[in-house]
């Protein structure tokens, strides 16, 4: 099963401002499990790319907050998730784009794993 996960940065990832609960190692392990990963944030796209590159994570996309529909159009997956810390700028955007949504603390439990035969 193909899975795509979009990460918000500020308030979600440990490198965010404010820092979130999800570590870069968590993202790396997710990516290494064959899941498509990337960021969807209000940070400039160039700065999102710089964060991934600084941590040596082979990201699949880096987009602005309103561009989740573009991600869905570009990448074929069976399920699309967005993880973020804001009701209005994360959850609402995600649901409107046809993504499923997790809060960062929910994501810590990797709730997508049972769906992914390769990762279980």
């Amino acid at each position: 099963m193909a899975i795509l996960i979009s990460f918000d940065i500020d308030g979600t990832l440990e490198v965010g401002d404010p820092p979130g609960v999800l570590t870069m190692e968590f993202v790396r392990k997710t990516q290494e499990a064959g899941i498509l990963v990337g960021s969807c944030s209000d940070r400039p796209i160039s700065s999102q790319r710089a964060i991934w590159e600084k941590h040596g994570i082979a990201y699949d996309f880096a987009v602005s907050k309103h561009q989740l529909p573009d991600v869905k159009a570009k990448f074929e997956a069976d399920v699309y998730y967005h993880i973020g810390d804001r009701e209005d700028l994360d959850r609402q955007y995600a649901l409107a784009a046809g993504f499923e949504f997790f809060w960062p603390d929910e994501a810590l439990g990797e709730p997508w794993l049972p769906l992914d035969g390769k990762s279980s």
Partner: protein
Amino acid sequence: MTTQNAPTSMYRTTEGLGVWEHKGKVAAVGIGHSPTTRRWDGTAENTMGANSIFALRQAIADAGVDPADIDGLVLDPVTTTGAHWPEEQPIPMDVVNAYNQTDDPLDGIAKLSAEWILKNMPELKNVKFTMYGMGCMSHAIVVAAQAVGEGRTHTCLVLKSWHNLEGRYNQSGISATDTVPGTFAMSPGRTLWGAPGSYGTALQFAEYCRKYGKSHDMMAPFMANSRRNGLMFPEGYWAQHRPEALTAEDYLNARWIAKPANLFDNDIPIMVSGAYLFTTAERANDMKQKPVYILNHASSRGAQRSILPTLDEVEAETAETGRKLYEGAGITAADLSFENMYDGFALFHQFHLEGLRFRGMQNGDALDFYQTDISIEGPNPVLPSGGNIGSGRSRFWMHTDCIQQIQGRAGARQITGIKPEIGVSGGPMPMGGNFTVWSASPD
């Protein structure tokens, strides 16, 4: 000592006043800034009041002045960026009691009186003149300049501080109430129930693009240049915390806040304090830094006919501001080396620029001008401070930069394409603000 708001007589608000009677007789010498932070961390050592004391002491030391020689203080007592202390939230008395208090426990945390400053800076034992310039540093500067010119004070500190609390911009205070009276709710940026703060500017900019055949995309070089300048401003937020460029791709892919104003056309609220030391031209000669003379100050008090100013009203007002500035300074647009007009919101900077007739510009020319070399290395530096876009919402980077450029202390940001001899700064709004002409020479 009771501190009053500056009387209207201290502002130069109309044309026809002639050359400012104190032209070249008032100078800025010292500069001080606190570190920036995104929000208050709740500690006593990082309150807005603590930042204020830090910035003031920096400015005093920078000027090389004995604090006992300071006899004036002008500041803005309103320090909110849009963050208000929630009524139900207990006030942290350990923080309050870490300082000498006035009768308002939020003084020094979410507001700032001259009394609080003087109670907590015992070295300012000879301050006899205090006054409020309400609104922002642009306001406080013109009040302080006029006060020194009139002889109310001879060595005057000028201060602007900002607090930003936990939570989101403009979503507490009246914004958190269920009902909002009158037309207040409809005004941009006032409440959750009204339009975003940039809505009015966005409407004016949309009309500007329609009238002159321009587009929002044409703003990208100006935005990239402003952030570049900001990243060379070590006192600023982006340079200190997130040294991120803002490329054309970044800008053009940002989401709309009030189309055609996008995310980056709006600034980021921060905690910061900035201070200057003003004095007479005579006293400035004996101080540590090169004096930067004030040739004039002028204020805009435009009246709009409706809830939002129209493009025509904005263009008329900014042109009048330009004429007032030049008349009082006894200069022309051709004498300007550079400009540092306000940019928060980014989409009104061109109104200020065109009003100044900077480099011969007429209405509708600025976005084409942005496609040329507007860098600090070129002959036409635009917003060398980087403004709020470059360093976060302070409304004072532009003034600091004017002083530093003319003193030759702008570091990596120093203008090299021309000799920085006369600069202009001020704001905030095209329809209402306070503006200053700075010069290397008093003449």
